[in-house]
């Protein structure tokens, strides 16, 4: 097993106070270094994070999921011993054993990036059929905009090495970060594979989850970002 002391788990958090504590405790049982980025929560998520014993980085204002993720990655990069970053959702939909498996897979296969997929092998538990269809469309869209073919889209559980973390530098503040992530894989010719993960759609995560119509916003933002890429 790869040394978990060189792994940083990044957990972007926005108003997840009821669940984030348990999620972080579950992670800390395996990974000693967990940083939760509180993206300007208003429900006391920051206290829950502190009580769980994770490192806390607090955005002074709400900036979006992608911005929070990048903050966590920047924080992890400040640790010279960090070799691997794992991104993990705060709402409790991911399983810690999947993260462990991905870290192990990353080093065993000598990859740059491992992305969790809900559609490889194991089935997504309780995934609504409409969401399934939307994700299929999203994979085609991402293939067209980034050139990277995946079986799943916008899956938050990912593991990557320090080199890729340094190159990532995402500028997409909101949920469109997943597409910029794929573009970066393409641009840097990173070695990546998908890894089967299972996701539990609880009552809580379904209530909190993205509304499908928001995919329109994400898609248009991705197109604008592609159009303006490299021009500041």
């Amino acid at each position: 097993m790869a040394s978990h002391s060189q792994v940083w788990v990044v957990v972007p958090t926005y108003n997840e106070a009821p669940v984030v504590g348990d999620v972080l405790r579950g992670l800390l049982a395996v990974f000693p270094q967990v940083v939760a980025v509180d993206d300007g929560s208003t429900d006391g998520s920051g206290d829950a994070i502190r009580q769980a014993g994770a490192r806390l980085v607090t955005h002074p204002i709400n900036m979006g999921a992608g911005a929070a993720l990048q903050t966590g990655i920047d924080f992890a990069l400040r640790d010279p011993n960090m070799r691997t970053v794992v991104t993990f959702d705060a709402d409790g939909q991911h399983r810690v054993e999947d993260a462990v498996g991905m870290v192990e897979y990353l080093s065993r296969r000598d990859l740059d990036v491992v992305i969790g997929s809900r559609f490889l092998g194991s089935e997504a538990v309780n995934m609504p059929a409409s969401k399934r269809r939307l994700l299929k469309v999203a994979t085609v869209f991402e293939k067209l905009t980034s050139g990277v073919k995946l079986t799943d889209a916008h899956q938050g559980l990912r593991a990557f090495n320090r080199g890729f973390a340094q190159k990532l530098q995402m500028r997409t503040p909101d949920m469109g970060w997943a597409s910029e992530f794929l573009s970066r894989i393409q641009e840097t010719e990173a070695r990546f594979e998908e890894y089967p993960v299972s996701v539990e759609y609880s009552e809580y995560s379904r209530a909190k989850g993205q509304r499908s119509i928001n995919s329109v916003n994400i898609g248009i933002d991705v197109l604008i970002n592609r159009l303006l890429r490299g021009h500041r």
Partner: protein, 129 residues
């Protein structure tokens, strides 16, 4: 409708995108300022001599001088909106970078860079810088 309008409109859109992608260049900034000066002078002139817009409109085949001014207003409005949109995007990005570095520095100052030491948990970490 004449179909020539489709490529014309597409061409205008393309030129705008190309312009805005190069908007940081000094030529572009100088160009837009000269344009603004020119428009300002035109405004003064057409207030003083109200016949000018109508004369230009007749030349261009537009029915009325007010229509011509409306068209120009639309063009300027679209350009202004796009310019402000891009400027806002950049301002947001700068704000995010600032907030991010503040957040990270504050976290490091408060907790050092040692491993997490939750209250009373006794978890042991390596010494940080």
């Amino acid at each position: 409708m004449q179909w020539i309008k489709v490529p014309l409109i597409l061409a205008v859109l393309l030129v705008m995108v190309a312009l805005f992608q190069r908007r940081q260049r000094v030529e572009f900034r100088a160009g837009s300022r000269l344009l603004a000066l020119g428009l300002g002078m035109l405004a003064v002139l057409s207030v003083a001599f109200p016949g000018i817009p109508q004369a230009v409109a007749d030349r261009l085949g537009v029915a009325r001088g007010t229509d011509l001014i409306l068209y120009m207003l639309i063009v300027v409005f679209v350009l202004t909106s796009l310019g402000l949109y891009f400027r806002l995007r950049e301002a947001d990005e700068r704000l995010r970078r600032l907030a991010r570095s503040m957040a990270i520095e504050r976290a490091l100052n408060e907790q050092g860079f040692a491993n997490p030491s939750p209250e009373g948990d006794g978890r042991q970490g390596d010494a940080g810088p």
